[in-house]
Amino acid sequence: MSDVEFGVLLMGPPKSGKTTFLAALYHVLEQADVEGALRLHHLGEERSYLNRIRNHWLSCEEIGRTPEEIPPQLSMQLVSSDDSDSIVELVVPDLLGESYDRYLEHREWPQEFDDFVRKMLGVLLFVHPDHVRKSTLILEVDQTVPGLVDSDSATDVTEGVNAWGIEHVPTQVKLVELLRLLEHRRTDLPPIQIGLLVSAWDRVADMWDTADLWVEGNMPFLCQYLSARIGGEVRHRVFGISAQGGDLIQDRDKITGATNASDRIIVSSAGQRSHDITAPIRWIMEGM
C-alpha cells in the first residue's frame, strides 16, 4: 500500500451534522456492505469514541454532544474498494465546530490546522437546514406585520441595542469567509475541491428537488461564491445527506425496518441517489 496521498478536511458550524455523519460513515466503512464505498484502512485511538456514536446511530438515538467525550481531533485513513493504492486521510479537527468562530473572530488558527490546510485535497463543508442563520432587515418585519413597529413614535435608544459581533453574521457569510481564508493559505498550491453537504436532507427533500436548489434558494451568497470562482478552476459539488434516514420519531418504523442499517442512509447528488455515505470523499479523490 502506498502512503496517504490525499487529505480531506471535514468541517462545519456547531450542530451541522458532522457527528451523525461520522457515526454512519464509520458503520459503512466497518461493515463494507455498500457497493463501491470506501473501506477503512487505518484508525487511531478514536475507535472507542466512534464505536460509541455508531452504537447510538444503530439504535436510532440522538447522538449527544458532550464535549469531554469528544477527542480533540479525529482522523481515519480510507482506501478505495477497487484495490487501487489510493489512501485518503479524513481529518476532523473540531467535531463540535466551535473553533471556526474563534478563527474568524481572532484571525488566527493553529499551526497544526494550517499544516493540514496546506496539504489537503479538499474540504467537506457541512450545513444543517435547521441551523442556518439568516439576516432579516428591520424593514422586512415592518412590512410583514404592519404596525408592529410604530416608526413615528419608536425611539431608537442605545439601551438594549446589540453591538455588532461575529455571532450576528449570517451562516453563509461565515462559510464564505472560512473558504476565503482556506484559499488564502494556499495561493501557491492547487485550488481545493469543495463538497457542500446539506445534512438532515430528509427534512427538506420534499420541498426541494435537489440539494443544489436548496443551497441556491437558502444560501445564494455562498452558492454564487462557489460558482463564480476565478476561472472556474475550483470544483465544487453539493450533496444532500441524511445519515439518519429520516426523523428518529416520526420515521422510526421506516429507519428501523431496514434490513441493513446502511440502507437507511440517503445520499443525493447530481440527480443520483444512493446509500454510499463515502460518495463525497470519493468525489474529492476523483478530482486528482
Binding site: R107, S135, L139, V141
Partner: protein, 295 residues
C-alpha cells in the same frame, strides 16, 4: 503556535493599492451631501447580493466582509433595534475602502470594485472652497462617480432648489479644477425615491416637472464635458409603507457600473504611484495618473 490570517475589515489605502497592483480595479465613489444615503446604498448593495436578489451580477468574493456586515447590522433585527439606523460616516484621517468582486453571468467576466468611505462633509466643504474641491483626489481617481441627490429634499419645495444647486455647483467646481473631466463616468442618483410622489398624488406633476427640469439642465450643461452622464433613482431602504421593495433601483445602478468598467483580465492600474507608499499623507496622496479614456 498559531498562523495569522488576513482581516475582513475595510482596507487602508495601502491595502487597496495592493489589490489594484495585481488586478484591474474599479474605484466607485459613492458621494453626496450628509444624510443623502451613501452608506445605506452600499449596505443595501451588499444585502441584495447576499440575498441573491440581483440578476445583473453575482457575488464572487470580498476581502472586507466584516466591513459590509458592520454596515448592515443596524438595519437588521439582529441589532435589536426597532428603527433602522445608518450611522453617519465620520471624518477620518484617511480613506478606507470596501472591496467587492462580482461576476457578470452573461459573459462570465469578473470585476473588482473598491468603494472608498467618503464622508458627506467633504462634499459640503467642496461647495465652499476650491482648495477643498482640489483635495478630492478620490474623485479624480474614481472610475465611476455616483453622485447622490437626496430624494427627500428634492420633494420639498423649500429644500429642493438648494439640493439641485448643490449638485450643479459641485460638478462645475470639479470640472473647473480638473477633479472631473471628459473621462469622468458620472451617475446622478436620486436616493430615497420611495418618498417621491406616485401618480395618484397631487404633487406628482409638480415634482416630476422639477426632476425633469433638473435632469435636462444638468445634461445640457455638462454632458459634453464629461465621459458619460446617467440619471437613476433608487430606494435602497424604503420607509414603510411603500410599494417599492428594499434595494429598488440597485440593479440599474450596478448595470451602469458594469457597462463602463474594467474586467479582471485587463491591465492593473494602481491607486498610488510607487513612492506614495512611503509618503502617504491622508487625503493628499499622490494619485497615480488615471489613463484618459477616449470619449
Amino acid at each position: 503556535m498559531t498562523v495569522s490570517l488576513p482581516g475582513a475589515e475595510p482596507l487602508t489605502i495601502q491595502q487597496a493599492n495592493q489589490i489594484a497592483r495585481r488586478t484591474p480595479v474599479n474605484v466607485v465613489a459613492v458621494f453626496g451631501p450628509v444624510k443623502s444615503g451613501k452608506t445605506t446604498l452600499i449596505a443595501m448593495i451588499y444585502d441584495s447580493l447576499q440575498r441573491g436578489d440581483l440578476t445583473c451580477c453575482e457575488f464572487a468574493g470580498s476581502d472586507t466582509l466584516w466591513g459590509f456586515e458592520r454596515l448592515c447590522h443596524n438595519l437588521r433585527i439582529a441589532s435589536n433595534r426597532t428603527v433602522q439606523d445608518m450611522q453617519h460616516t465620520p471624518r477620518a484621517d484617511s480613506y478606507q475602502f470596501l472591496h467587492l468582486r462580482v461576476r457578470d453571468p452573461l459573459n462570465d467576466r469578473r470585476y473588482e470594485f473598491l468603494f472608498p468611505d467618503i464622508t458627506g462633509e467633504l462634499f459640503e466643504e467642496a461647495l465652499d472652497s476650491t482648495e477643498d474641491t482640489e483635495s478630492l483626489s478620490i474623485i479624480r481617481r474614481a472610475d465611476q462617480i455616483s453622485l447622490l441627490a437626496d430624494g427627500e429634499k428634492l420633494v420639498s419645495p423649500i429644500a429642493r432648489q438648494r439640493a439641485r444647486a448643490d449638485i450643479d455647483t459641485f460638478i462645475r467646481s470639479c470640472l473647473e479644477v480638473g477633479v472631473m473631466d471628459r473621462s469622468s463616468i458620472i451617475q446622478i442618483v436620486v436616493t430615497k425615491s420611495d418618498l417621491l410622489p406616485e401618480e395618484n398624488d397631487d404633487r406628482f406633476a409638480e415634482v416630476s416637472e422639477f426632476l425633469q427640469n433638473f435632469e435636462n439642465d444638468v445634461t445640457s450643461k455638462y454632458r459634453d464635458r464629461v465621459g458619460s452622464l446617467q440619471f437613476l433613482r433608487v430606494a435602497a431602504l424604503p420607509k414603510a409603507p411603500s410599494s417599492l421593495g428594499a434595494g429598488h433601483g440597485i440593479a440599474q445602478l450596478i448595470e451602469g457600473w458594469l457597462r463602463s468598467t474594467k474586467t479582471t483580465d485587463g491591465t492593473p492600474d494602481p491607486l498610488l504611484r510607487p513612492e506614495s507608499d512611503r509618503e502617504f499623507d491622508s487625503f493628499q496622496w499622490r494619485v497615480a495618473t488615471k489613463p484618459r479614456q477616449d470619449v
